[in-house]
Symmetry: C2
Subunit: 166 residues, 2 copies
Amino acid sequence: MMKAAFSLLVLLVALSSAFGKYIPKSGKRIPQTLSRGWGDQLIWAQTYEEALYWSRSNNKPLMVIFHLEDCPHSKALKKKFSEDDAIMKKLDEEFVVLNLMYETTDKNLSPDGQYVPRIIFVDPSMTVRADIAGRYSNRLYAYEPSDTKILFENLKKALKLYKSEL
Amino acid sequence: MMKAAFSLLVLLVALSSAFGKYIPKSGKRIPQTLSRGWGDQLIWAQTYEEALYWSRSNNKPLMVIFHLEDCPHSKALKKKFSEDDAIMKKLDEEFVVLNLMYETTDKNLSPDGQYVPRIIFVDPSMTVRADIAGRYSNRLYAYEPSDTKILFENLKKALKLYKSEL
């Protein structure tokens, strides 16, 4: 136990020294993650351009999540989403993932408006899958925290639609 | 010592449980950071659109770093850059920062080509500062690890130019 704890101490010191010496006046910050809480184990693209490139070159559909950090609906969905192992596994193994807090210049990513949270699927052929929607007629690409099963079905749909068109 | 080590153990367990339950087949991953090693204490924009918005609304110039993870020149500059406290402080307090591994659709960000590493300054008025360059005539916006002083002077230039034009 003592030995293990000491190894952890060494690890933690090594980790903290890797973060550099500069400390902001307001105090040390936790480094920002690209996942922003949507699944720390997934490999997230940083930008839409990067995501499209990965999608094309790896032949995997792309899932884009539009969200805001101070939006309670985004937060509630994020919690359920990131804790859903089936969704995490499917996304990790068969999708390219991107989460954005800002709209892109591509209008195709907002077929019925720029609300959050909003989940849009894009094929490796760079076609936005406007046909893969949630269950709200006023906001087609919105999901509530209770909609994770529908979202999982949509992941399967994104893979199936795409494969059946090859 | 024992107590401190135990606290660390508790902290580490708490941290790891916050990362969710899903573990990829290839083993647990370290969450990706937005800094990508260019300064974990800085607050990085995720996309160019986000960076422009922050620059305009906070009235701070924007610095964009184009780099690649497997480029030895990018890596060498990143090390010197992130360890330079004067640069970190100035950027943290007076700039909006963005680092990208993919080009954007804005051609103004590559005045003399799309090489890496490349550092471009943009005014809060959204004007690319093509006049703020390093010391290489063939690649105007490239910096070597030994050029951190020139880079620091360019940070001051970006602030001065901008302020003198108000």
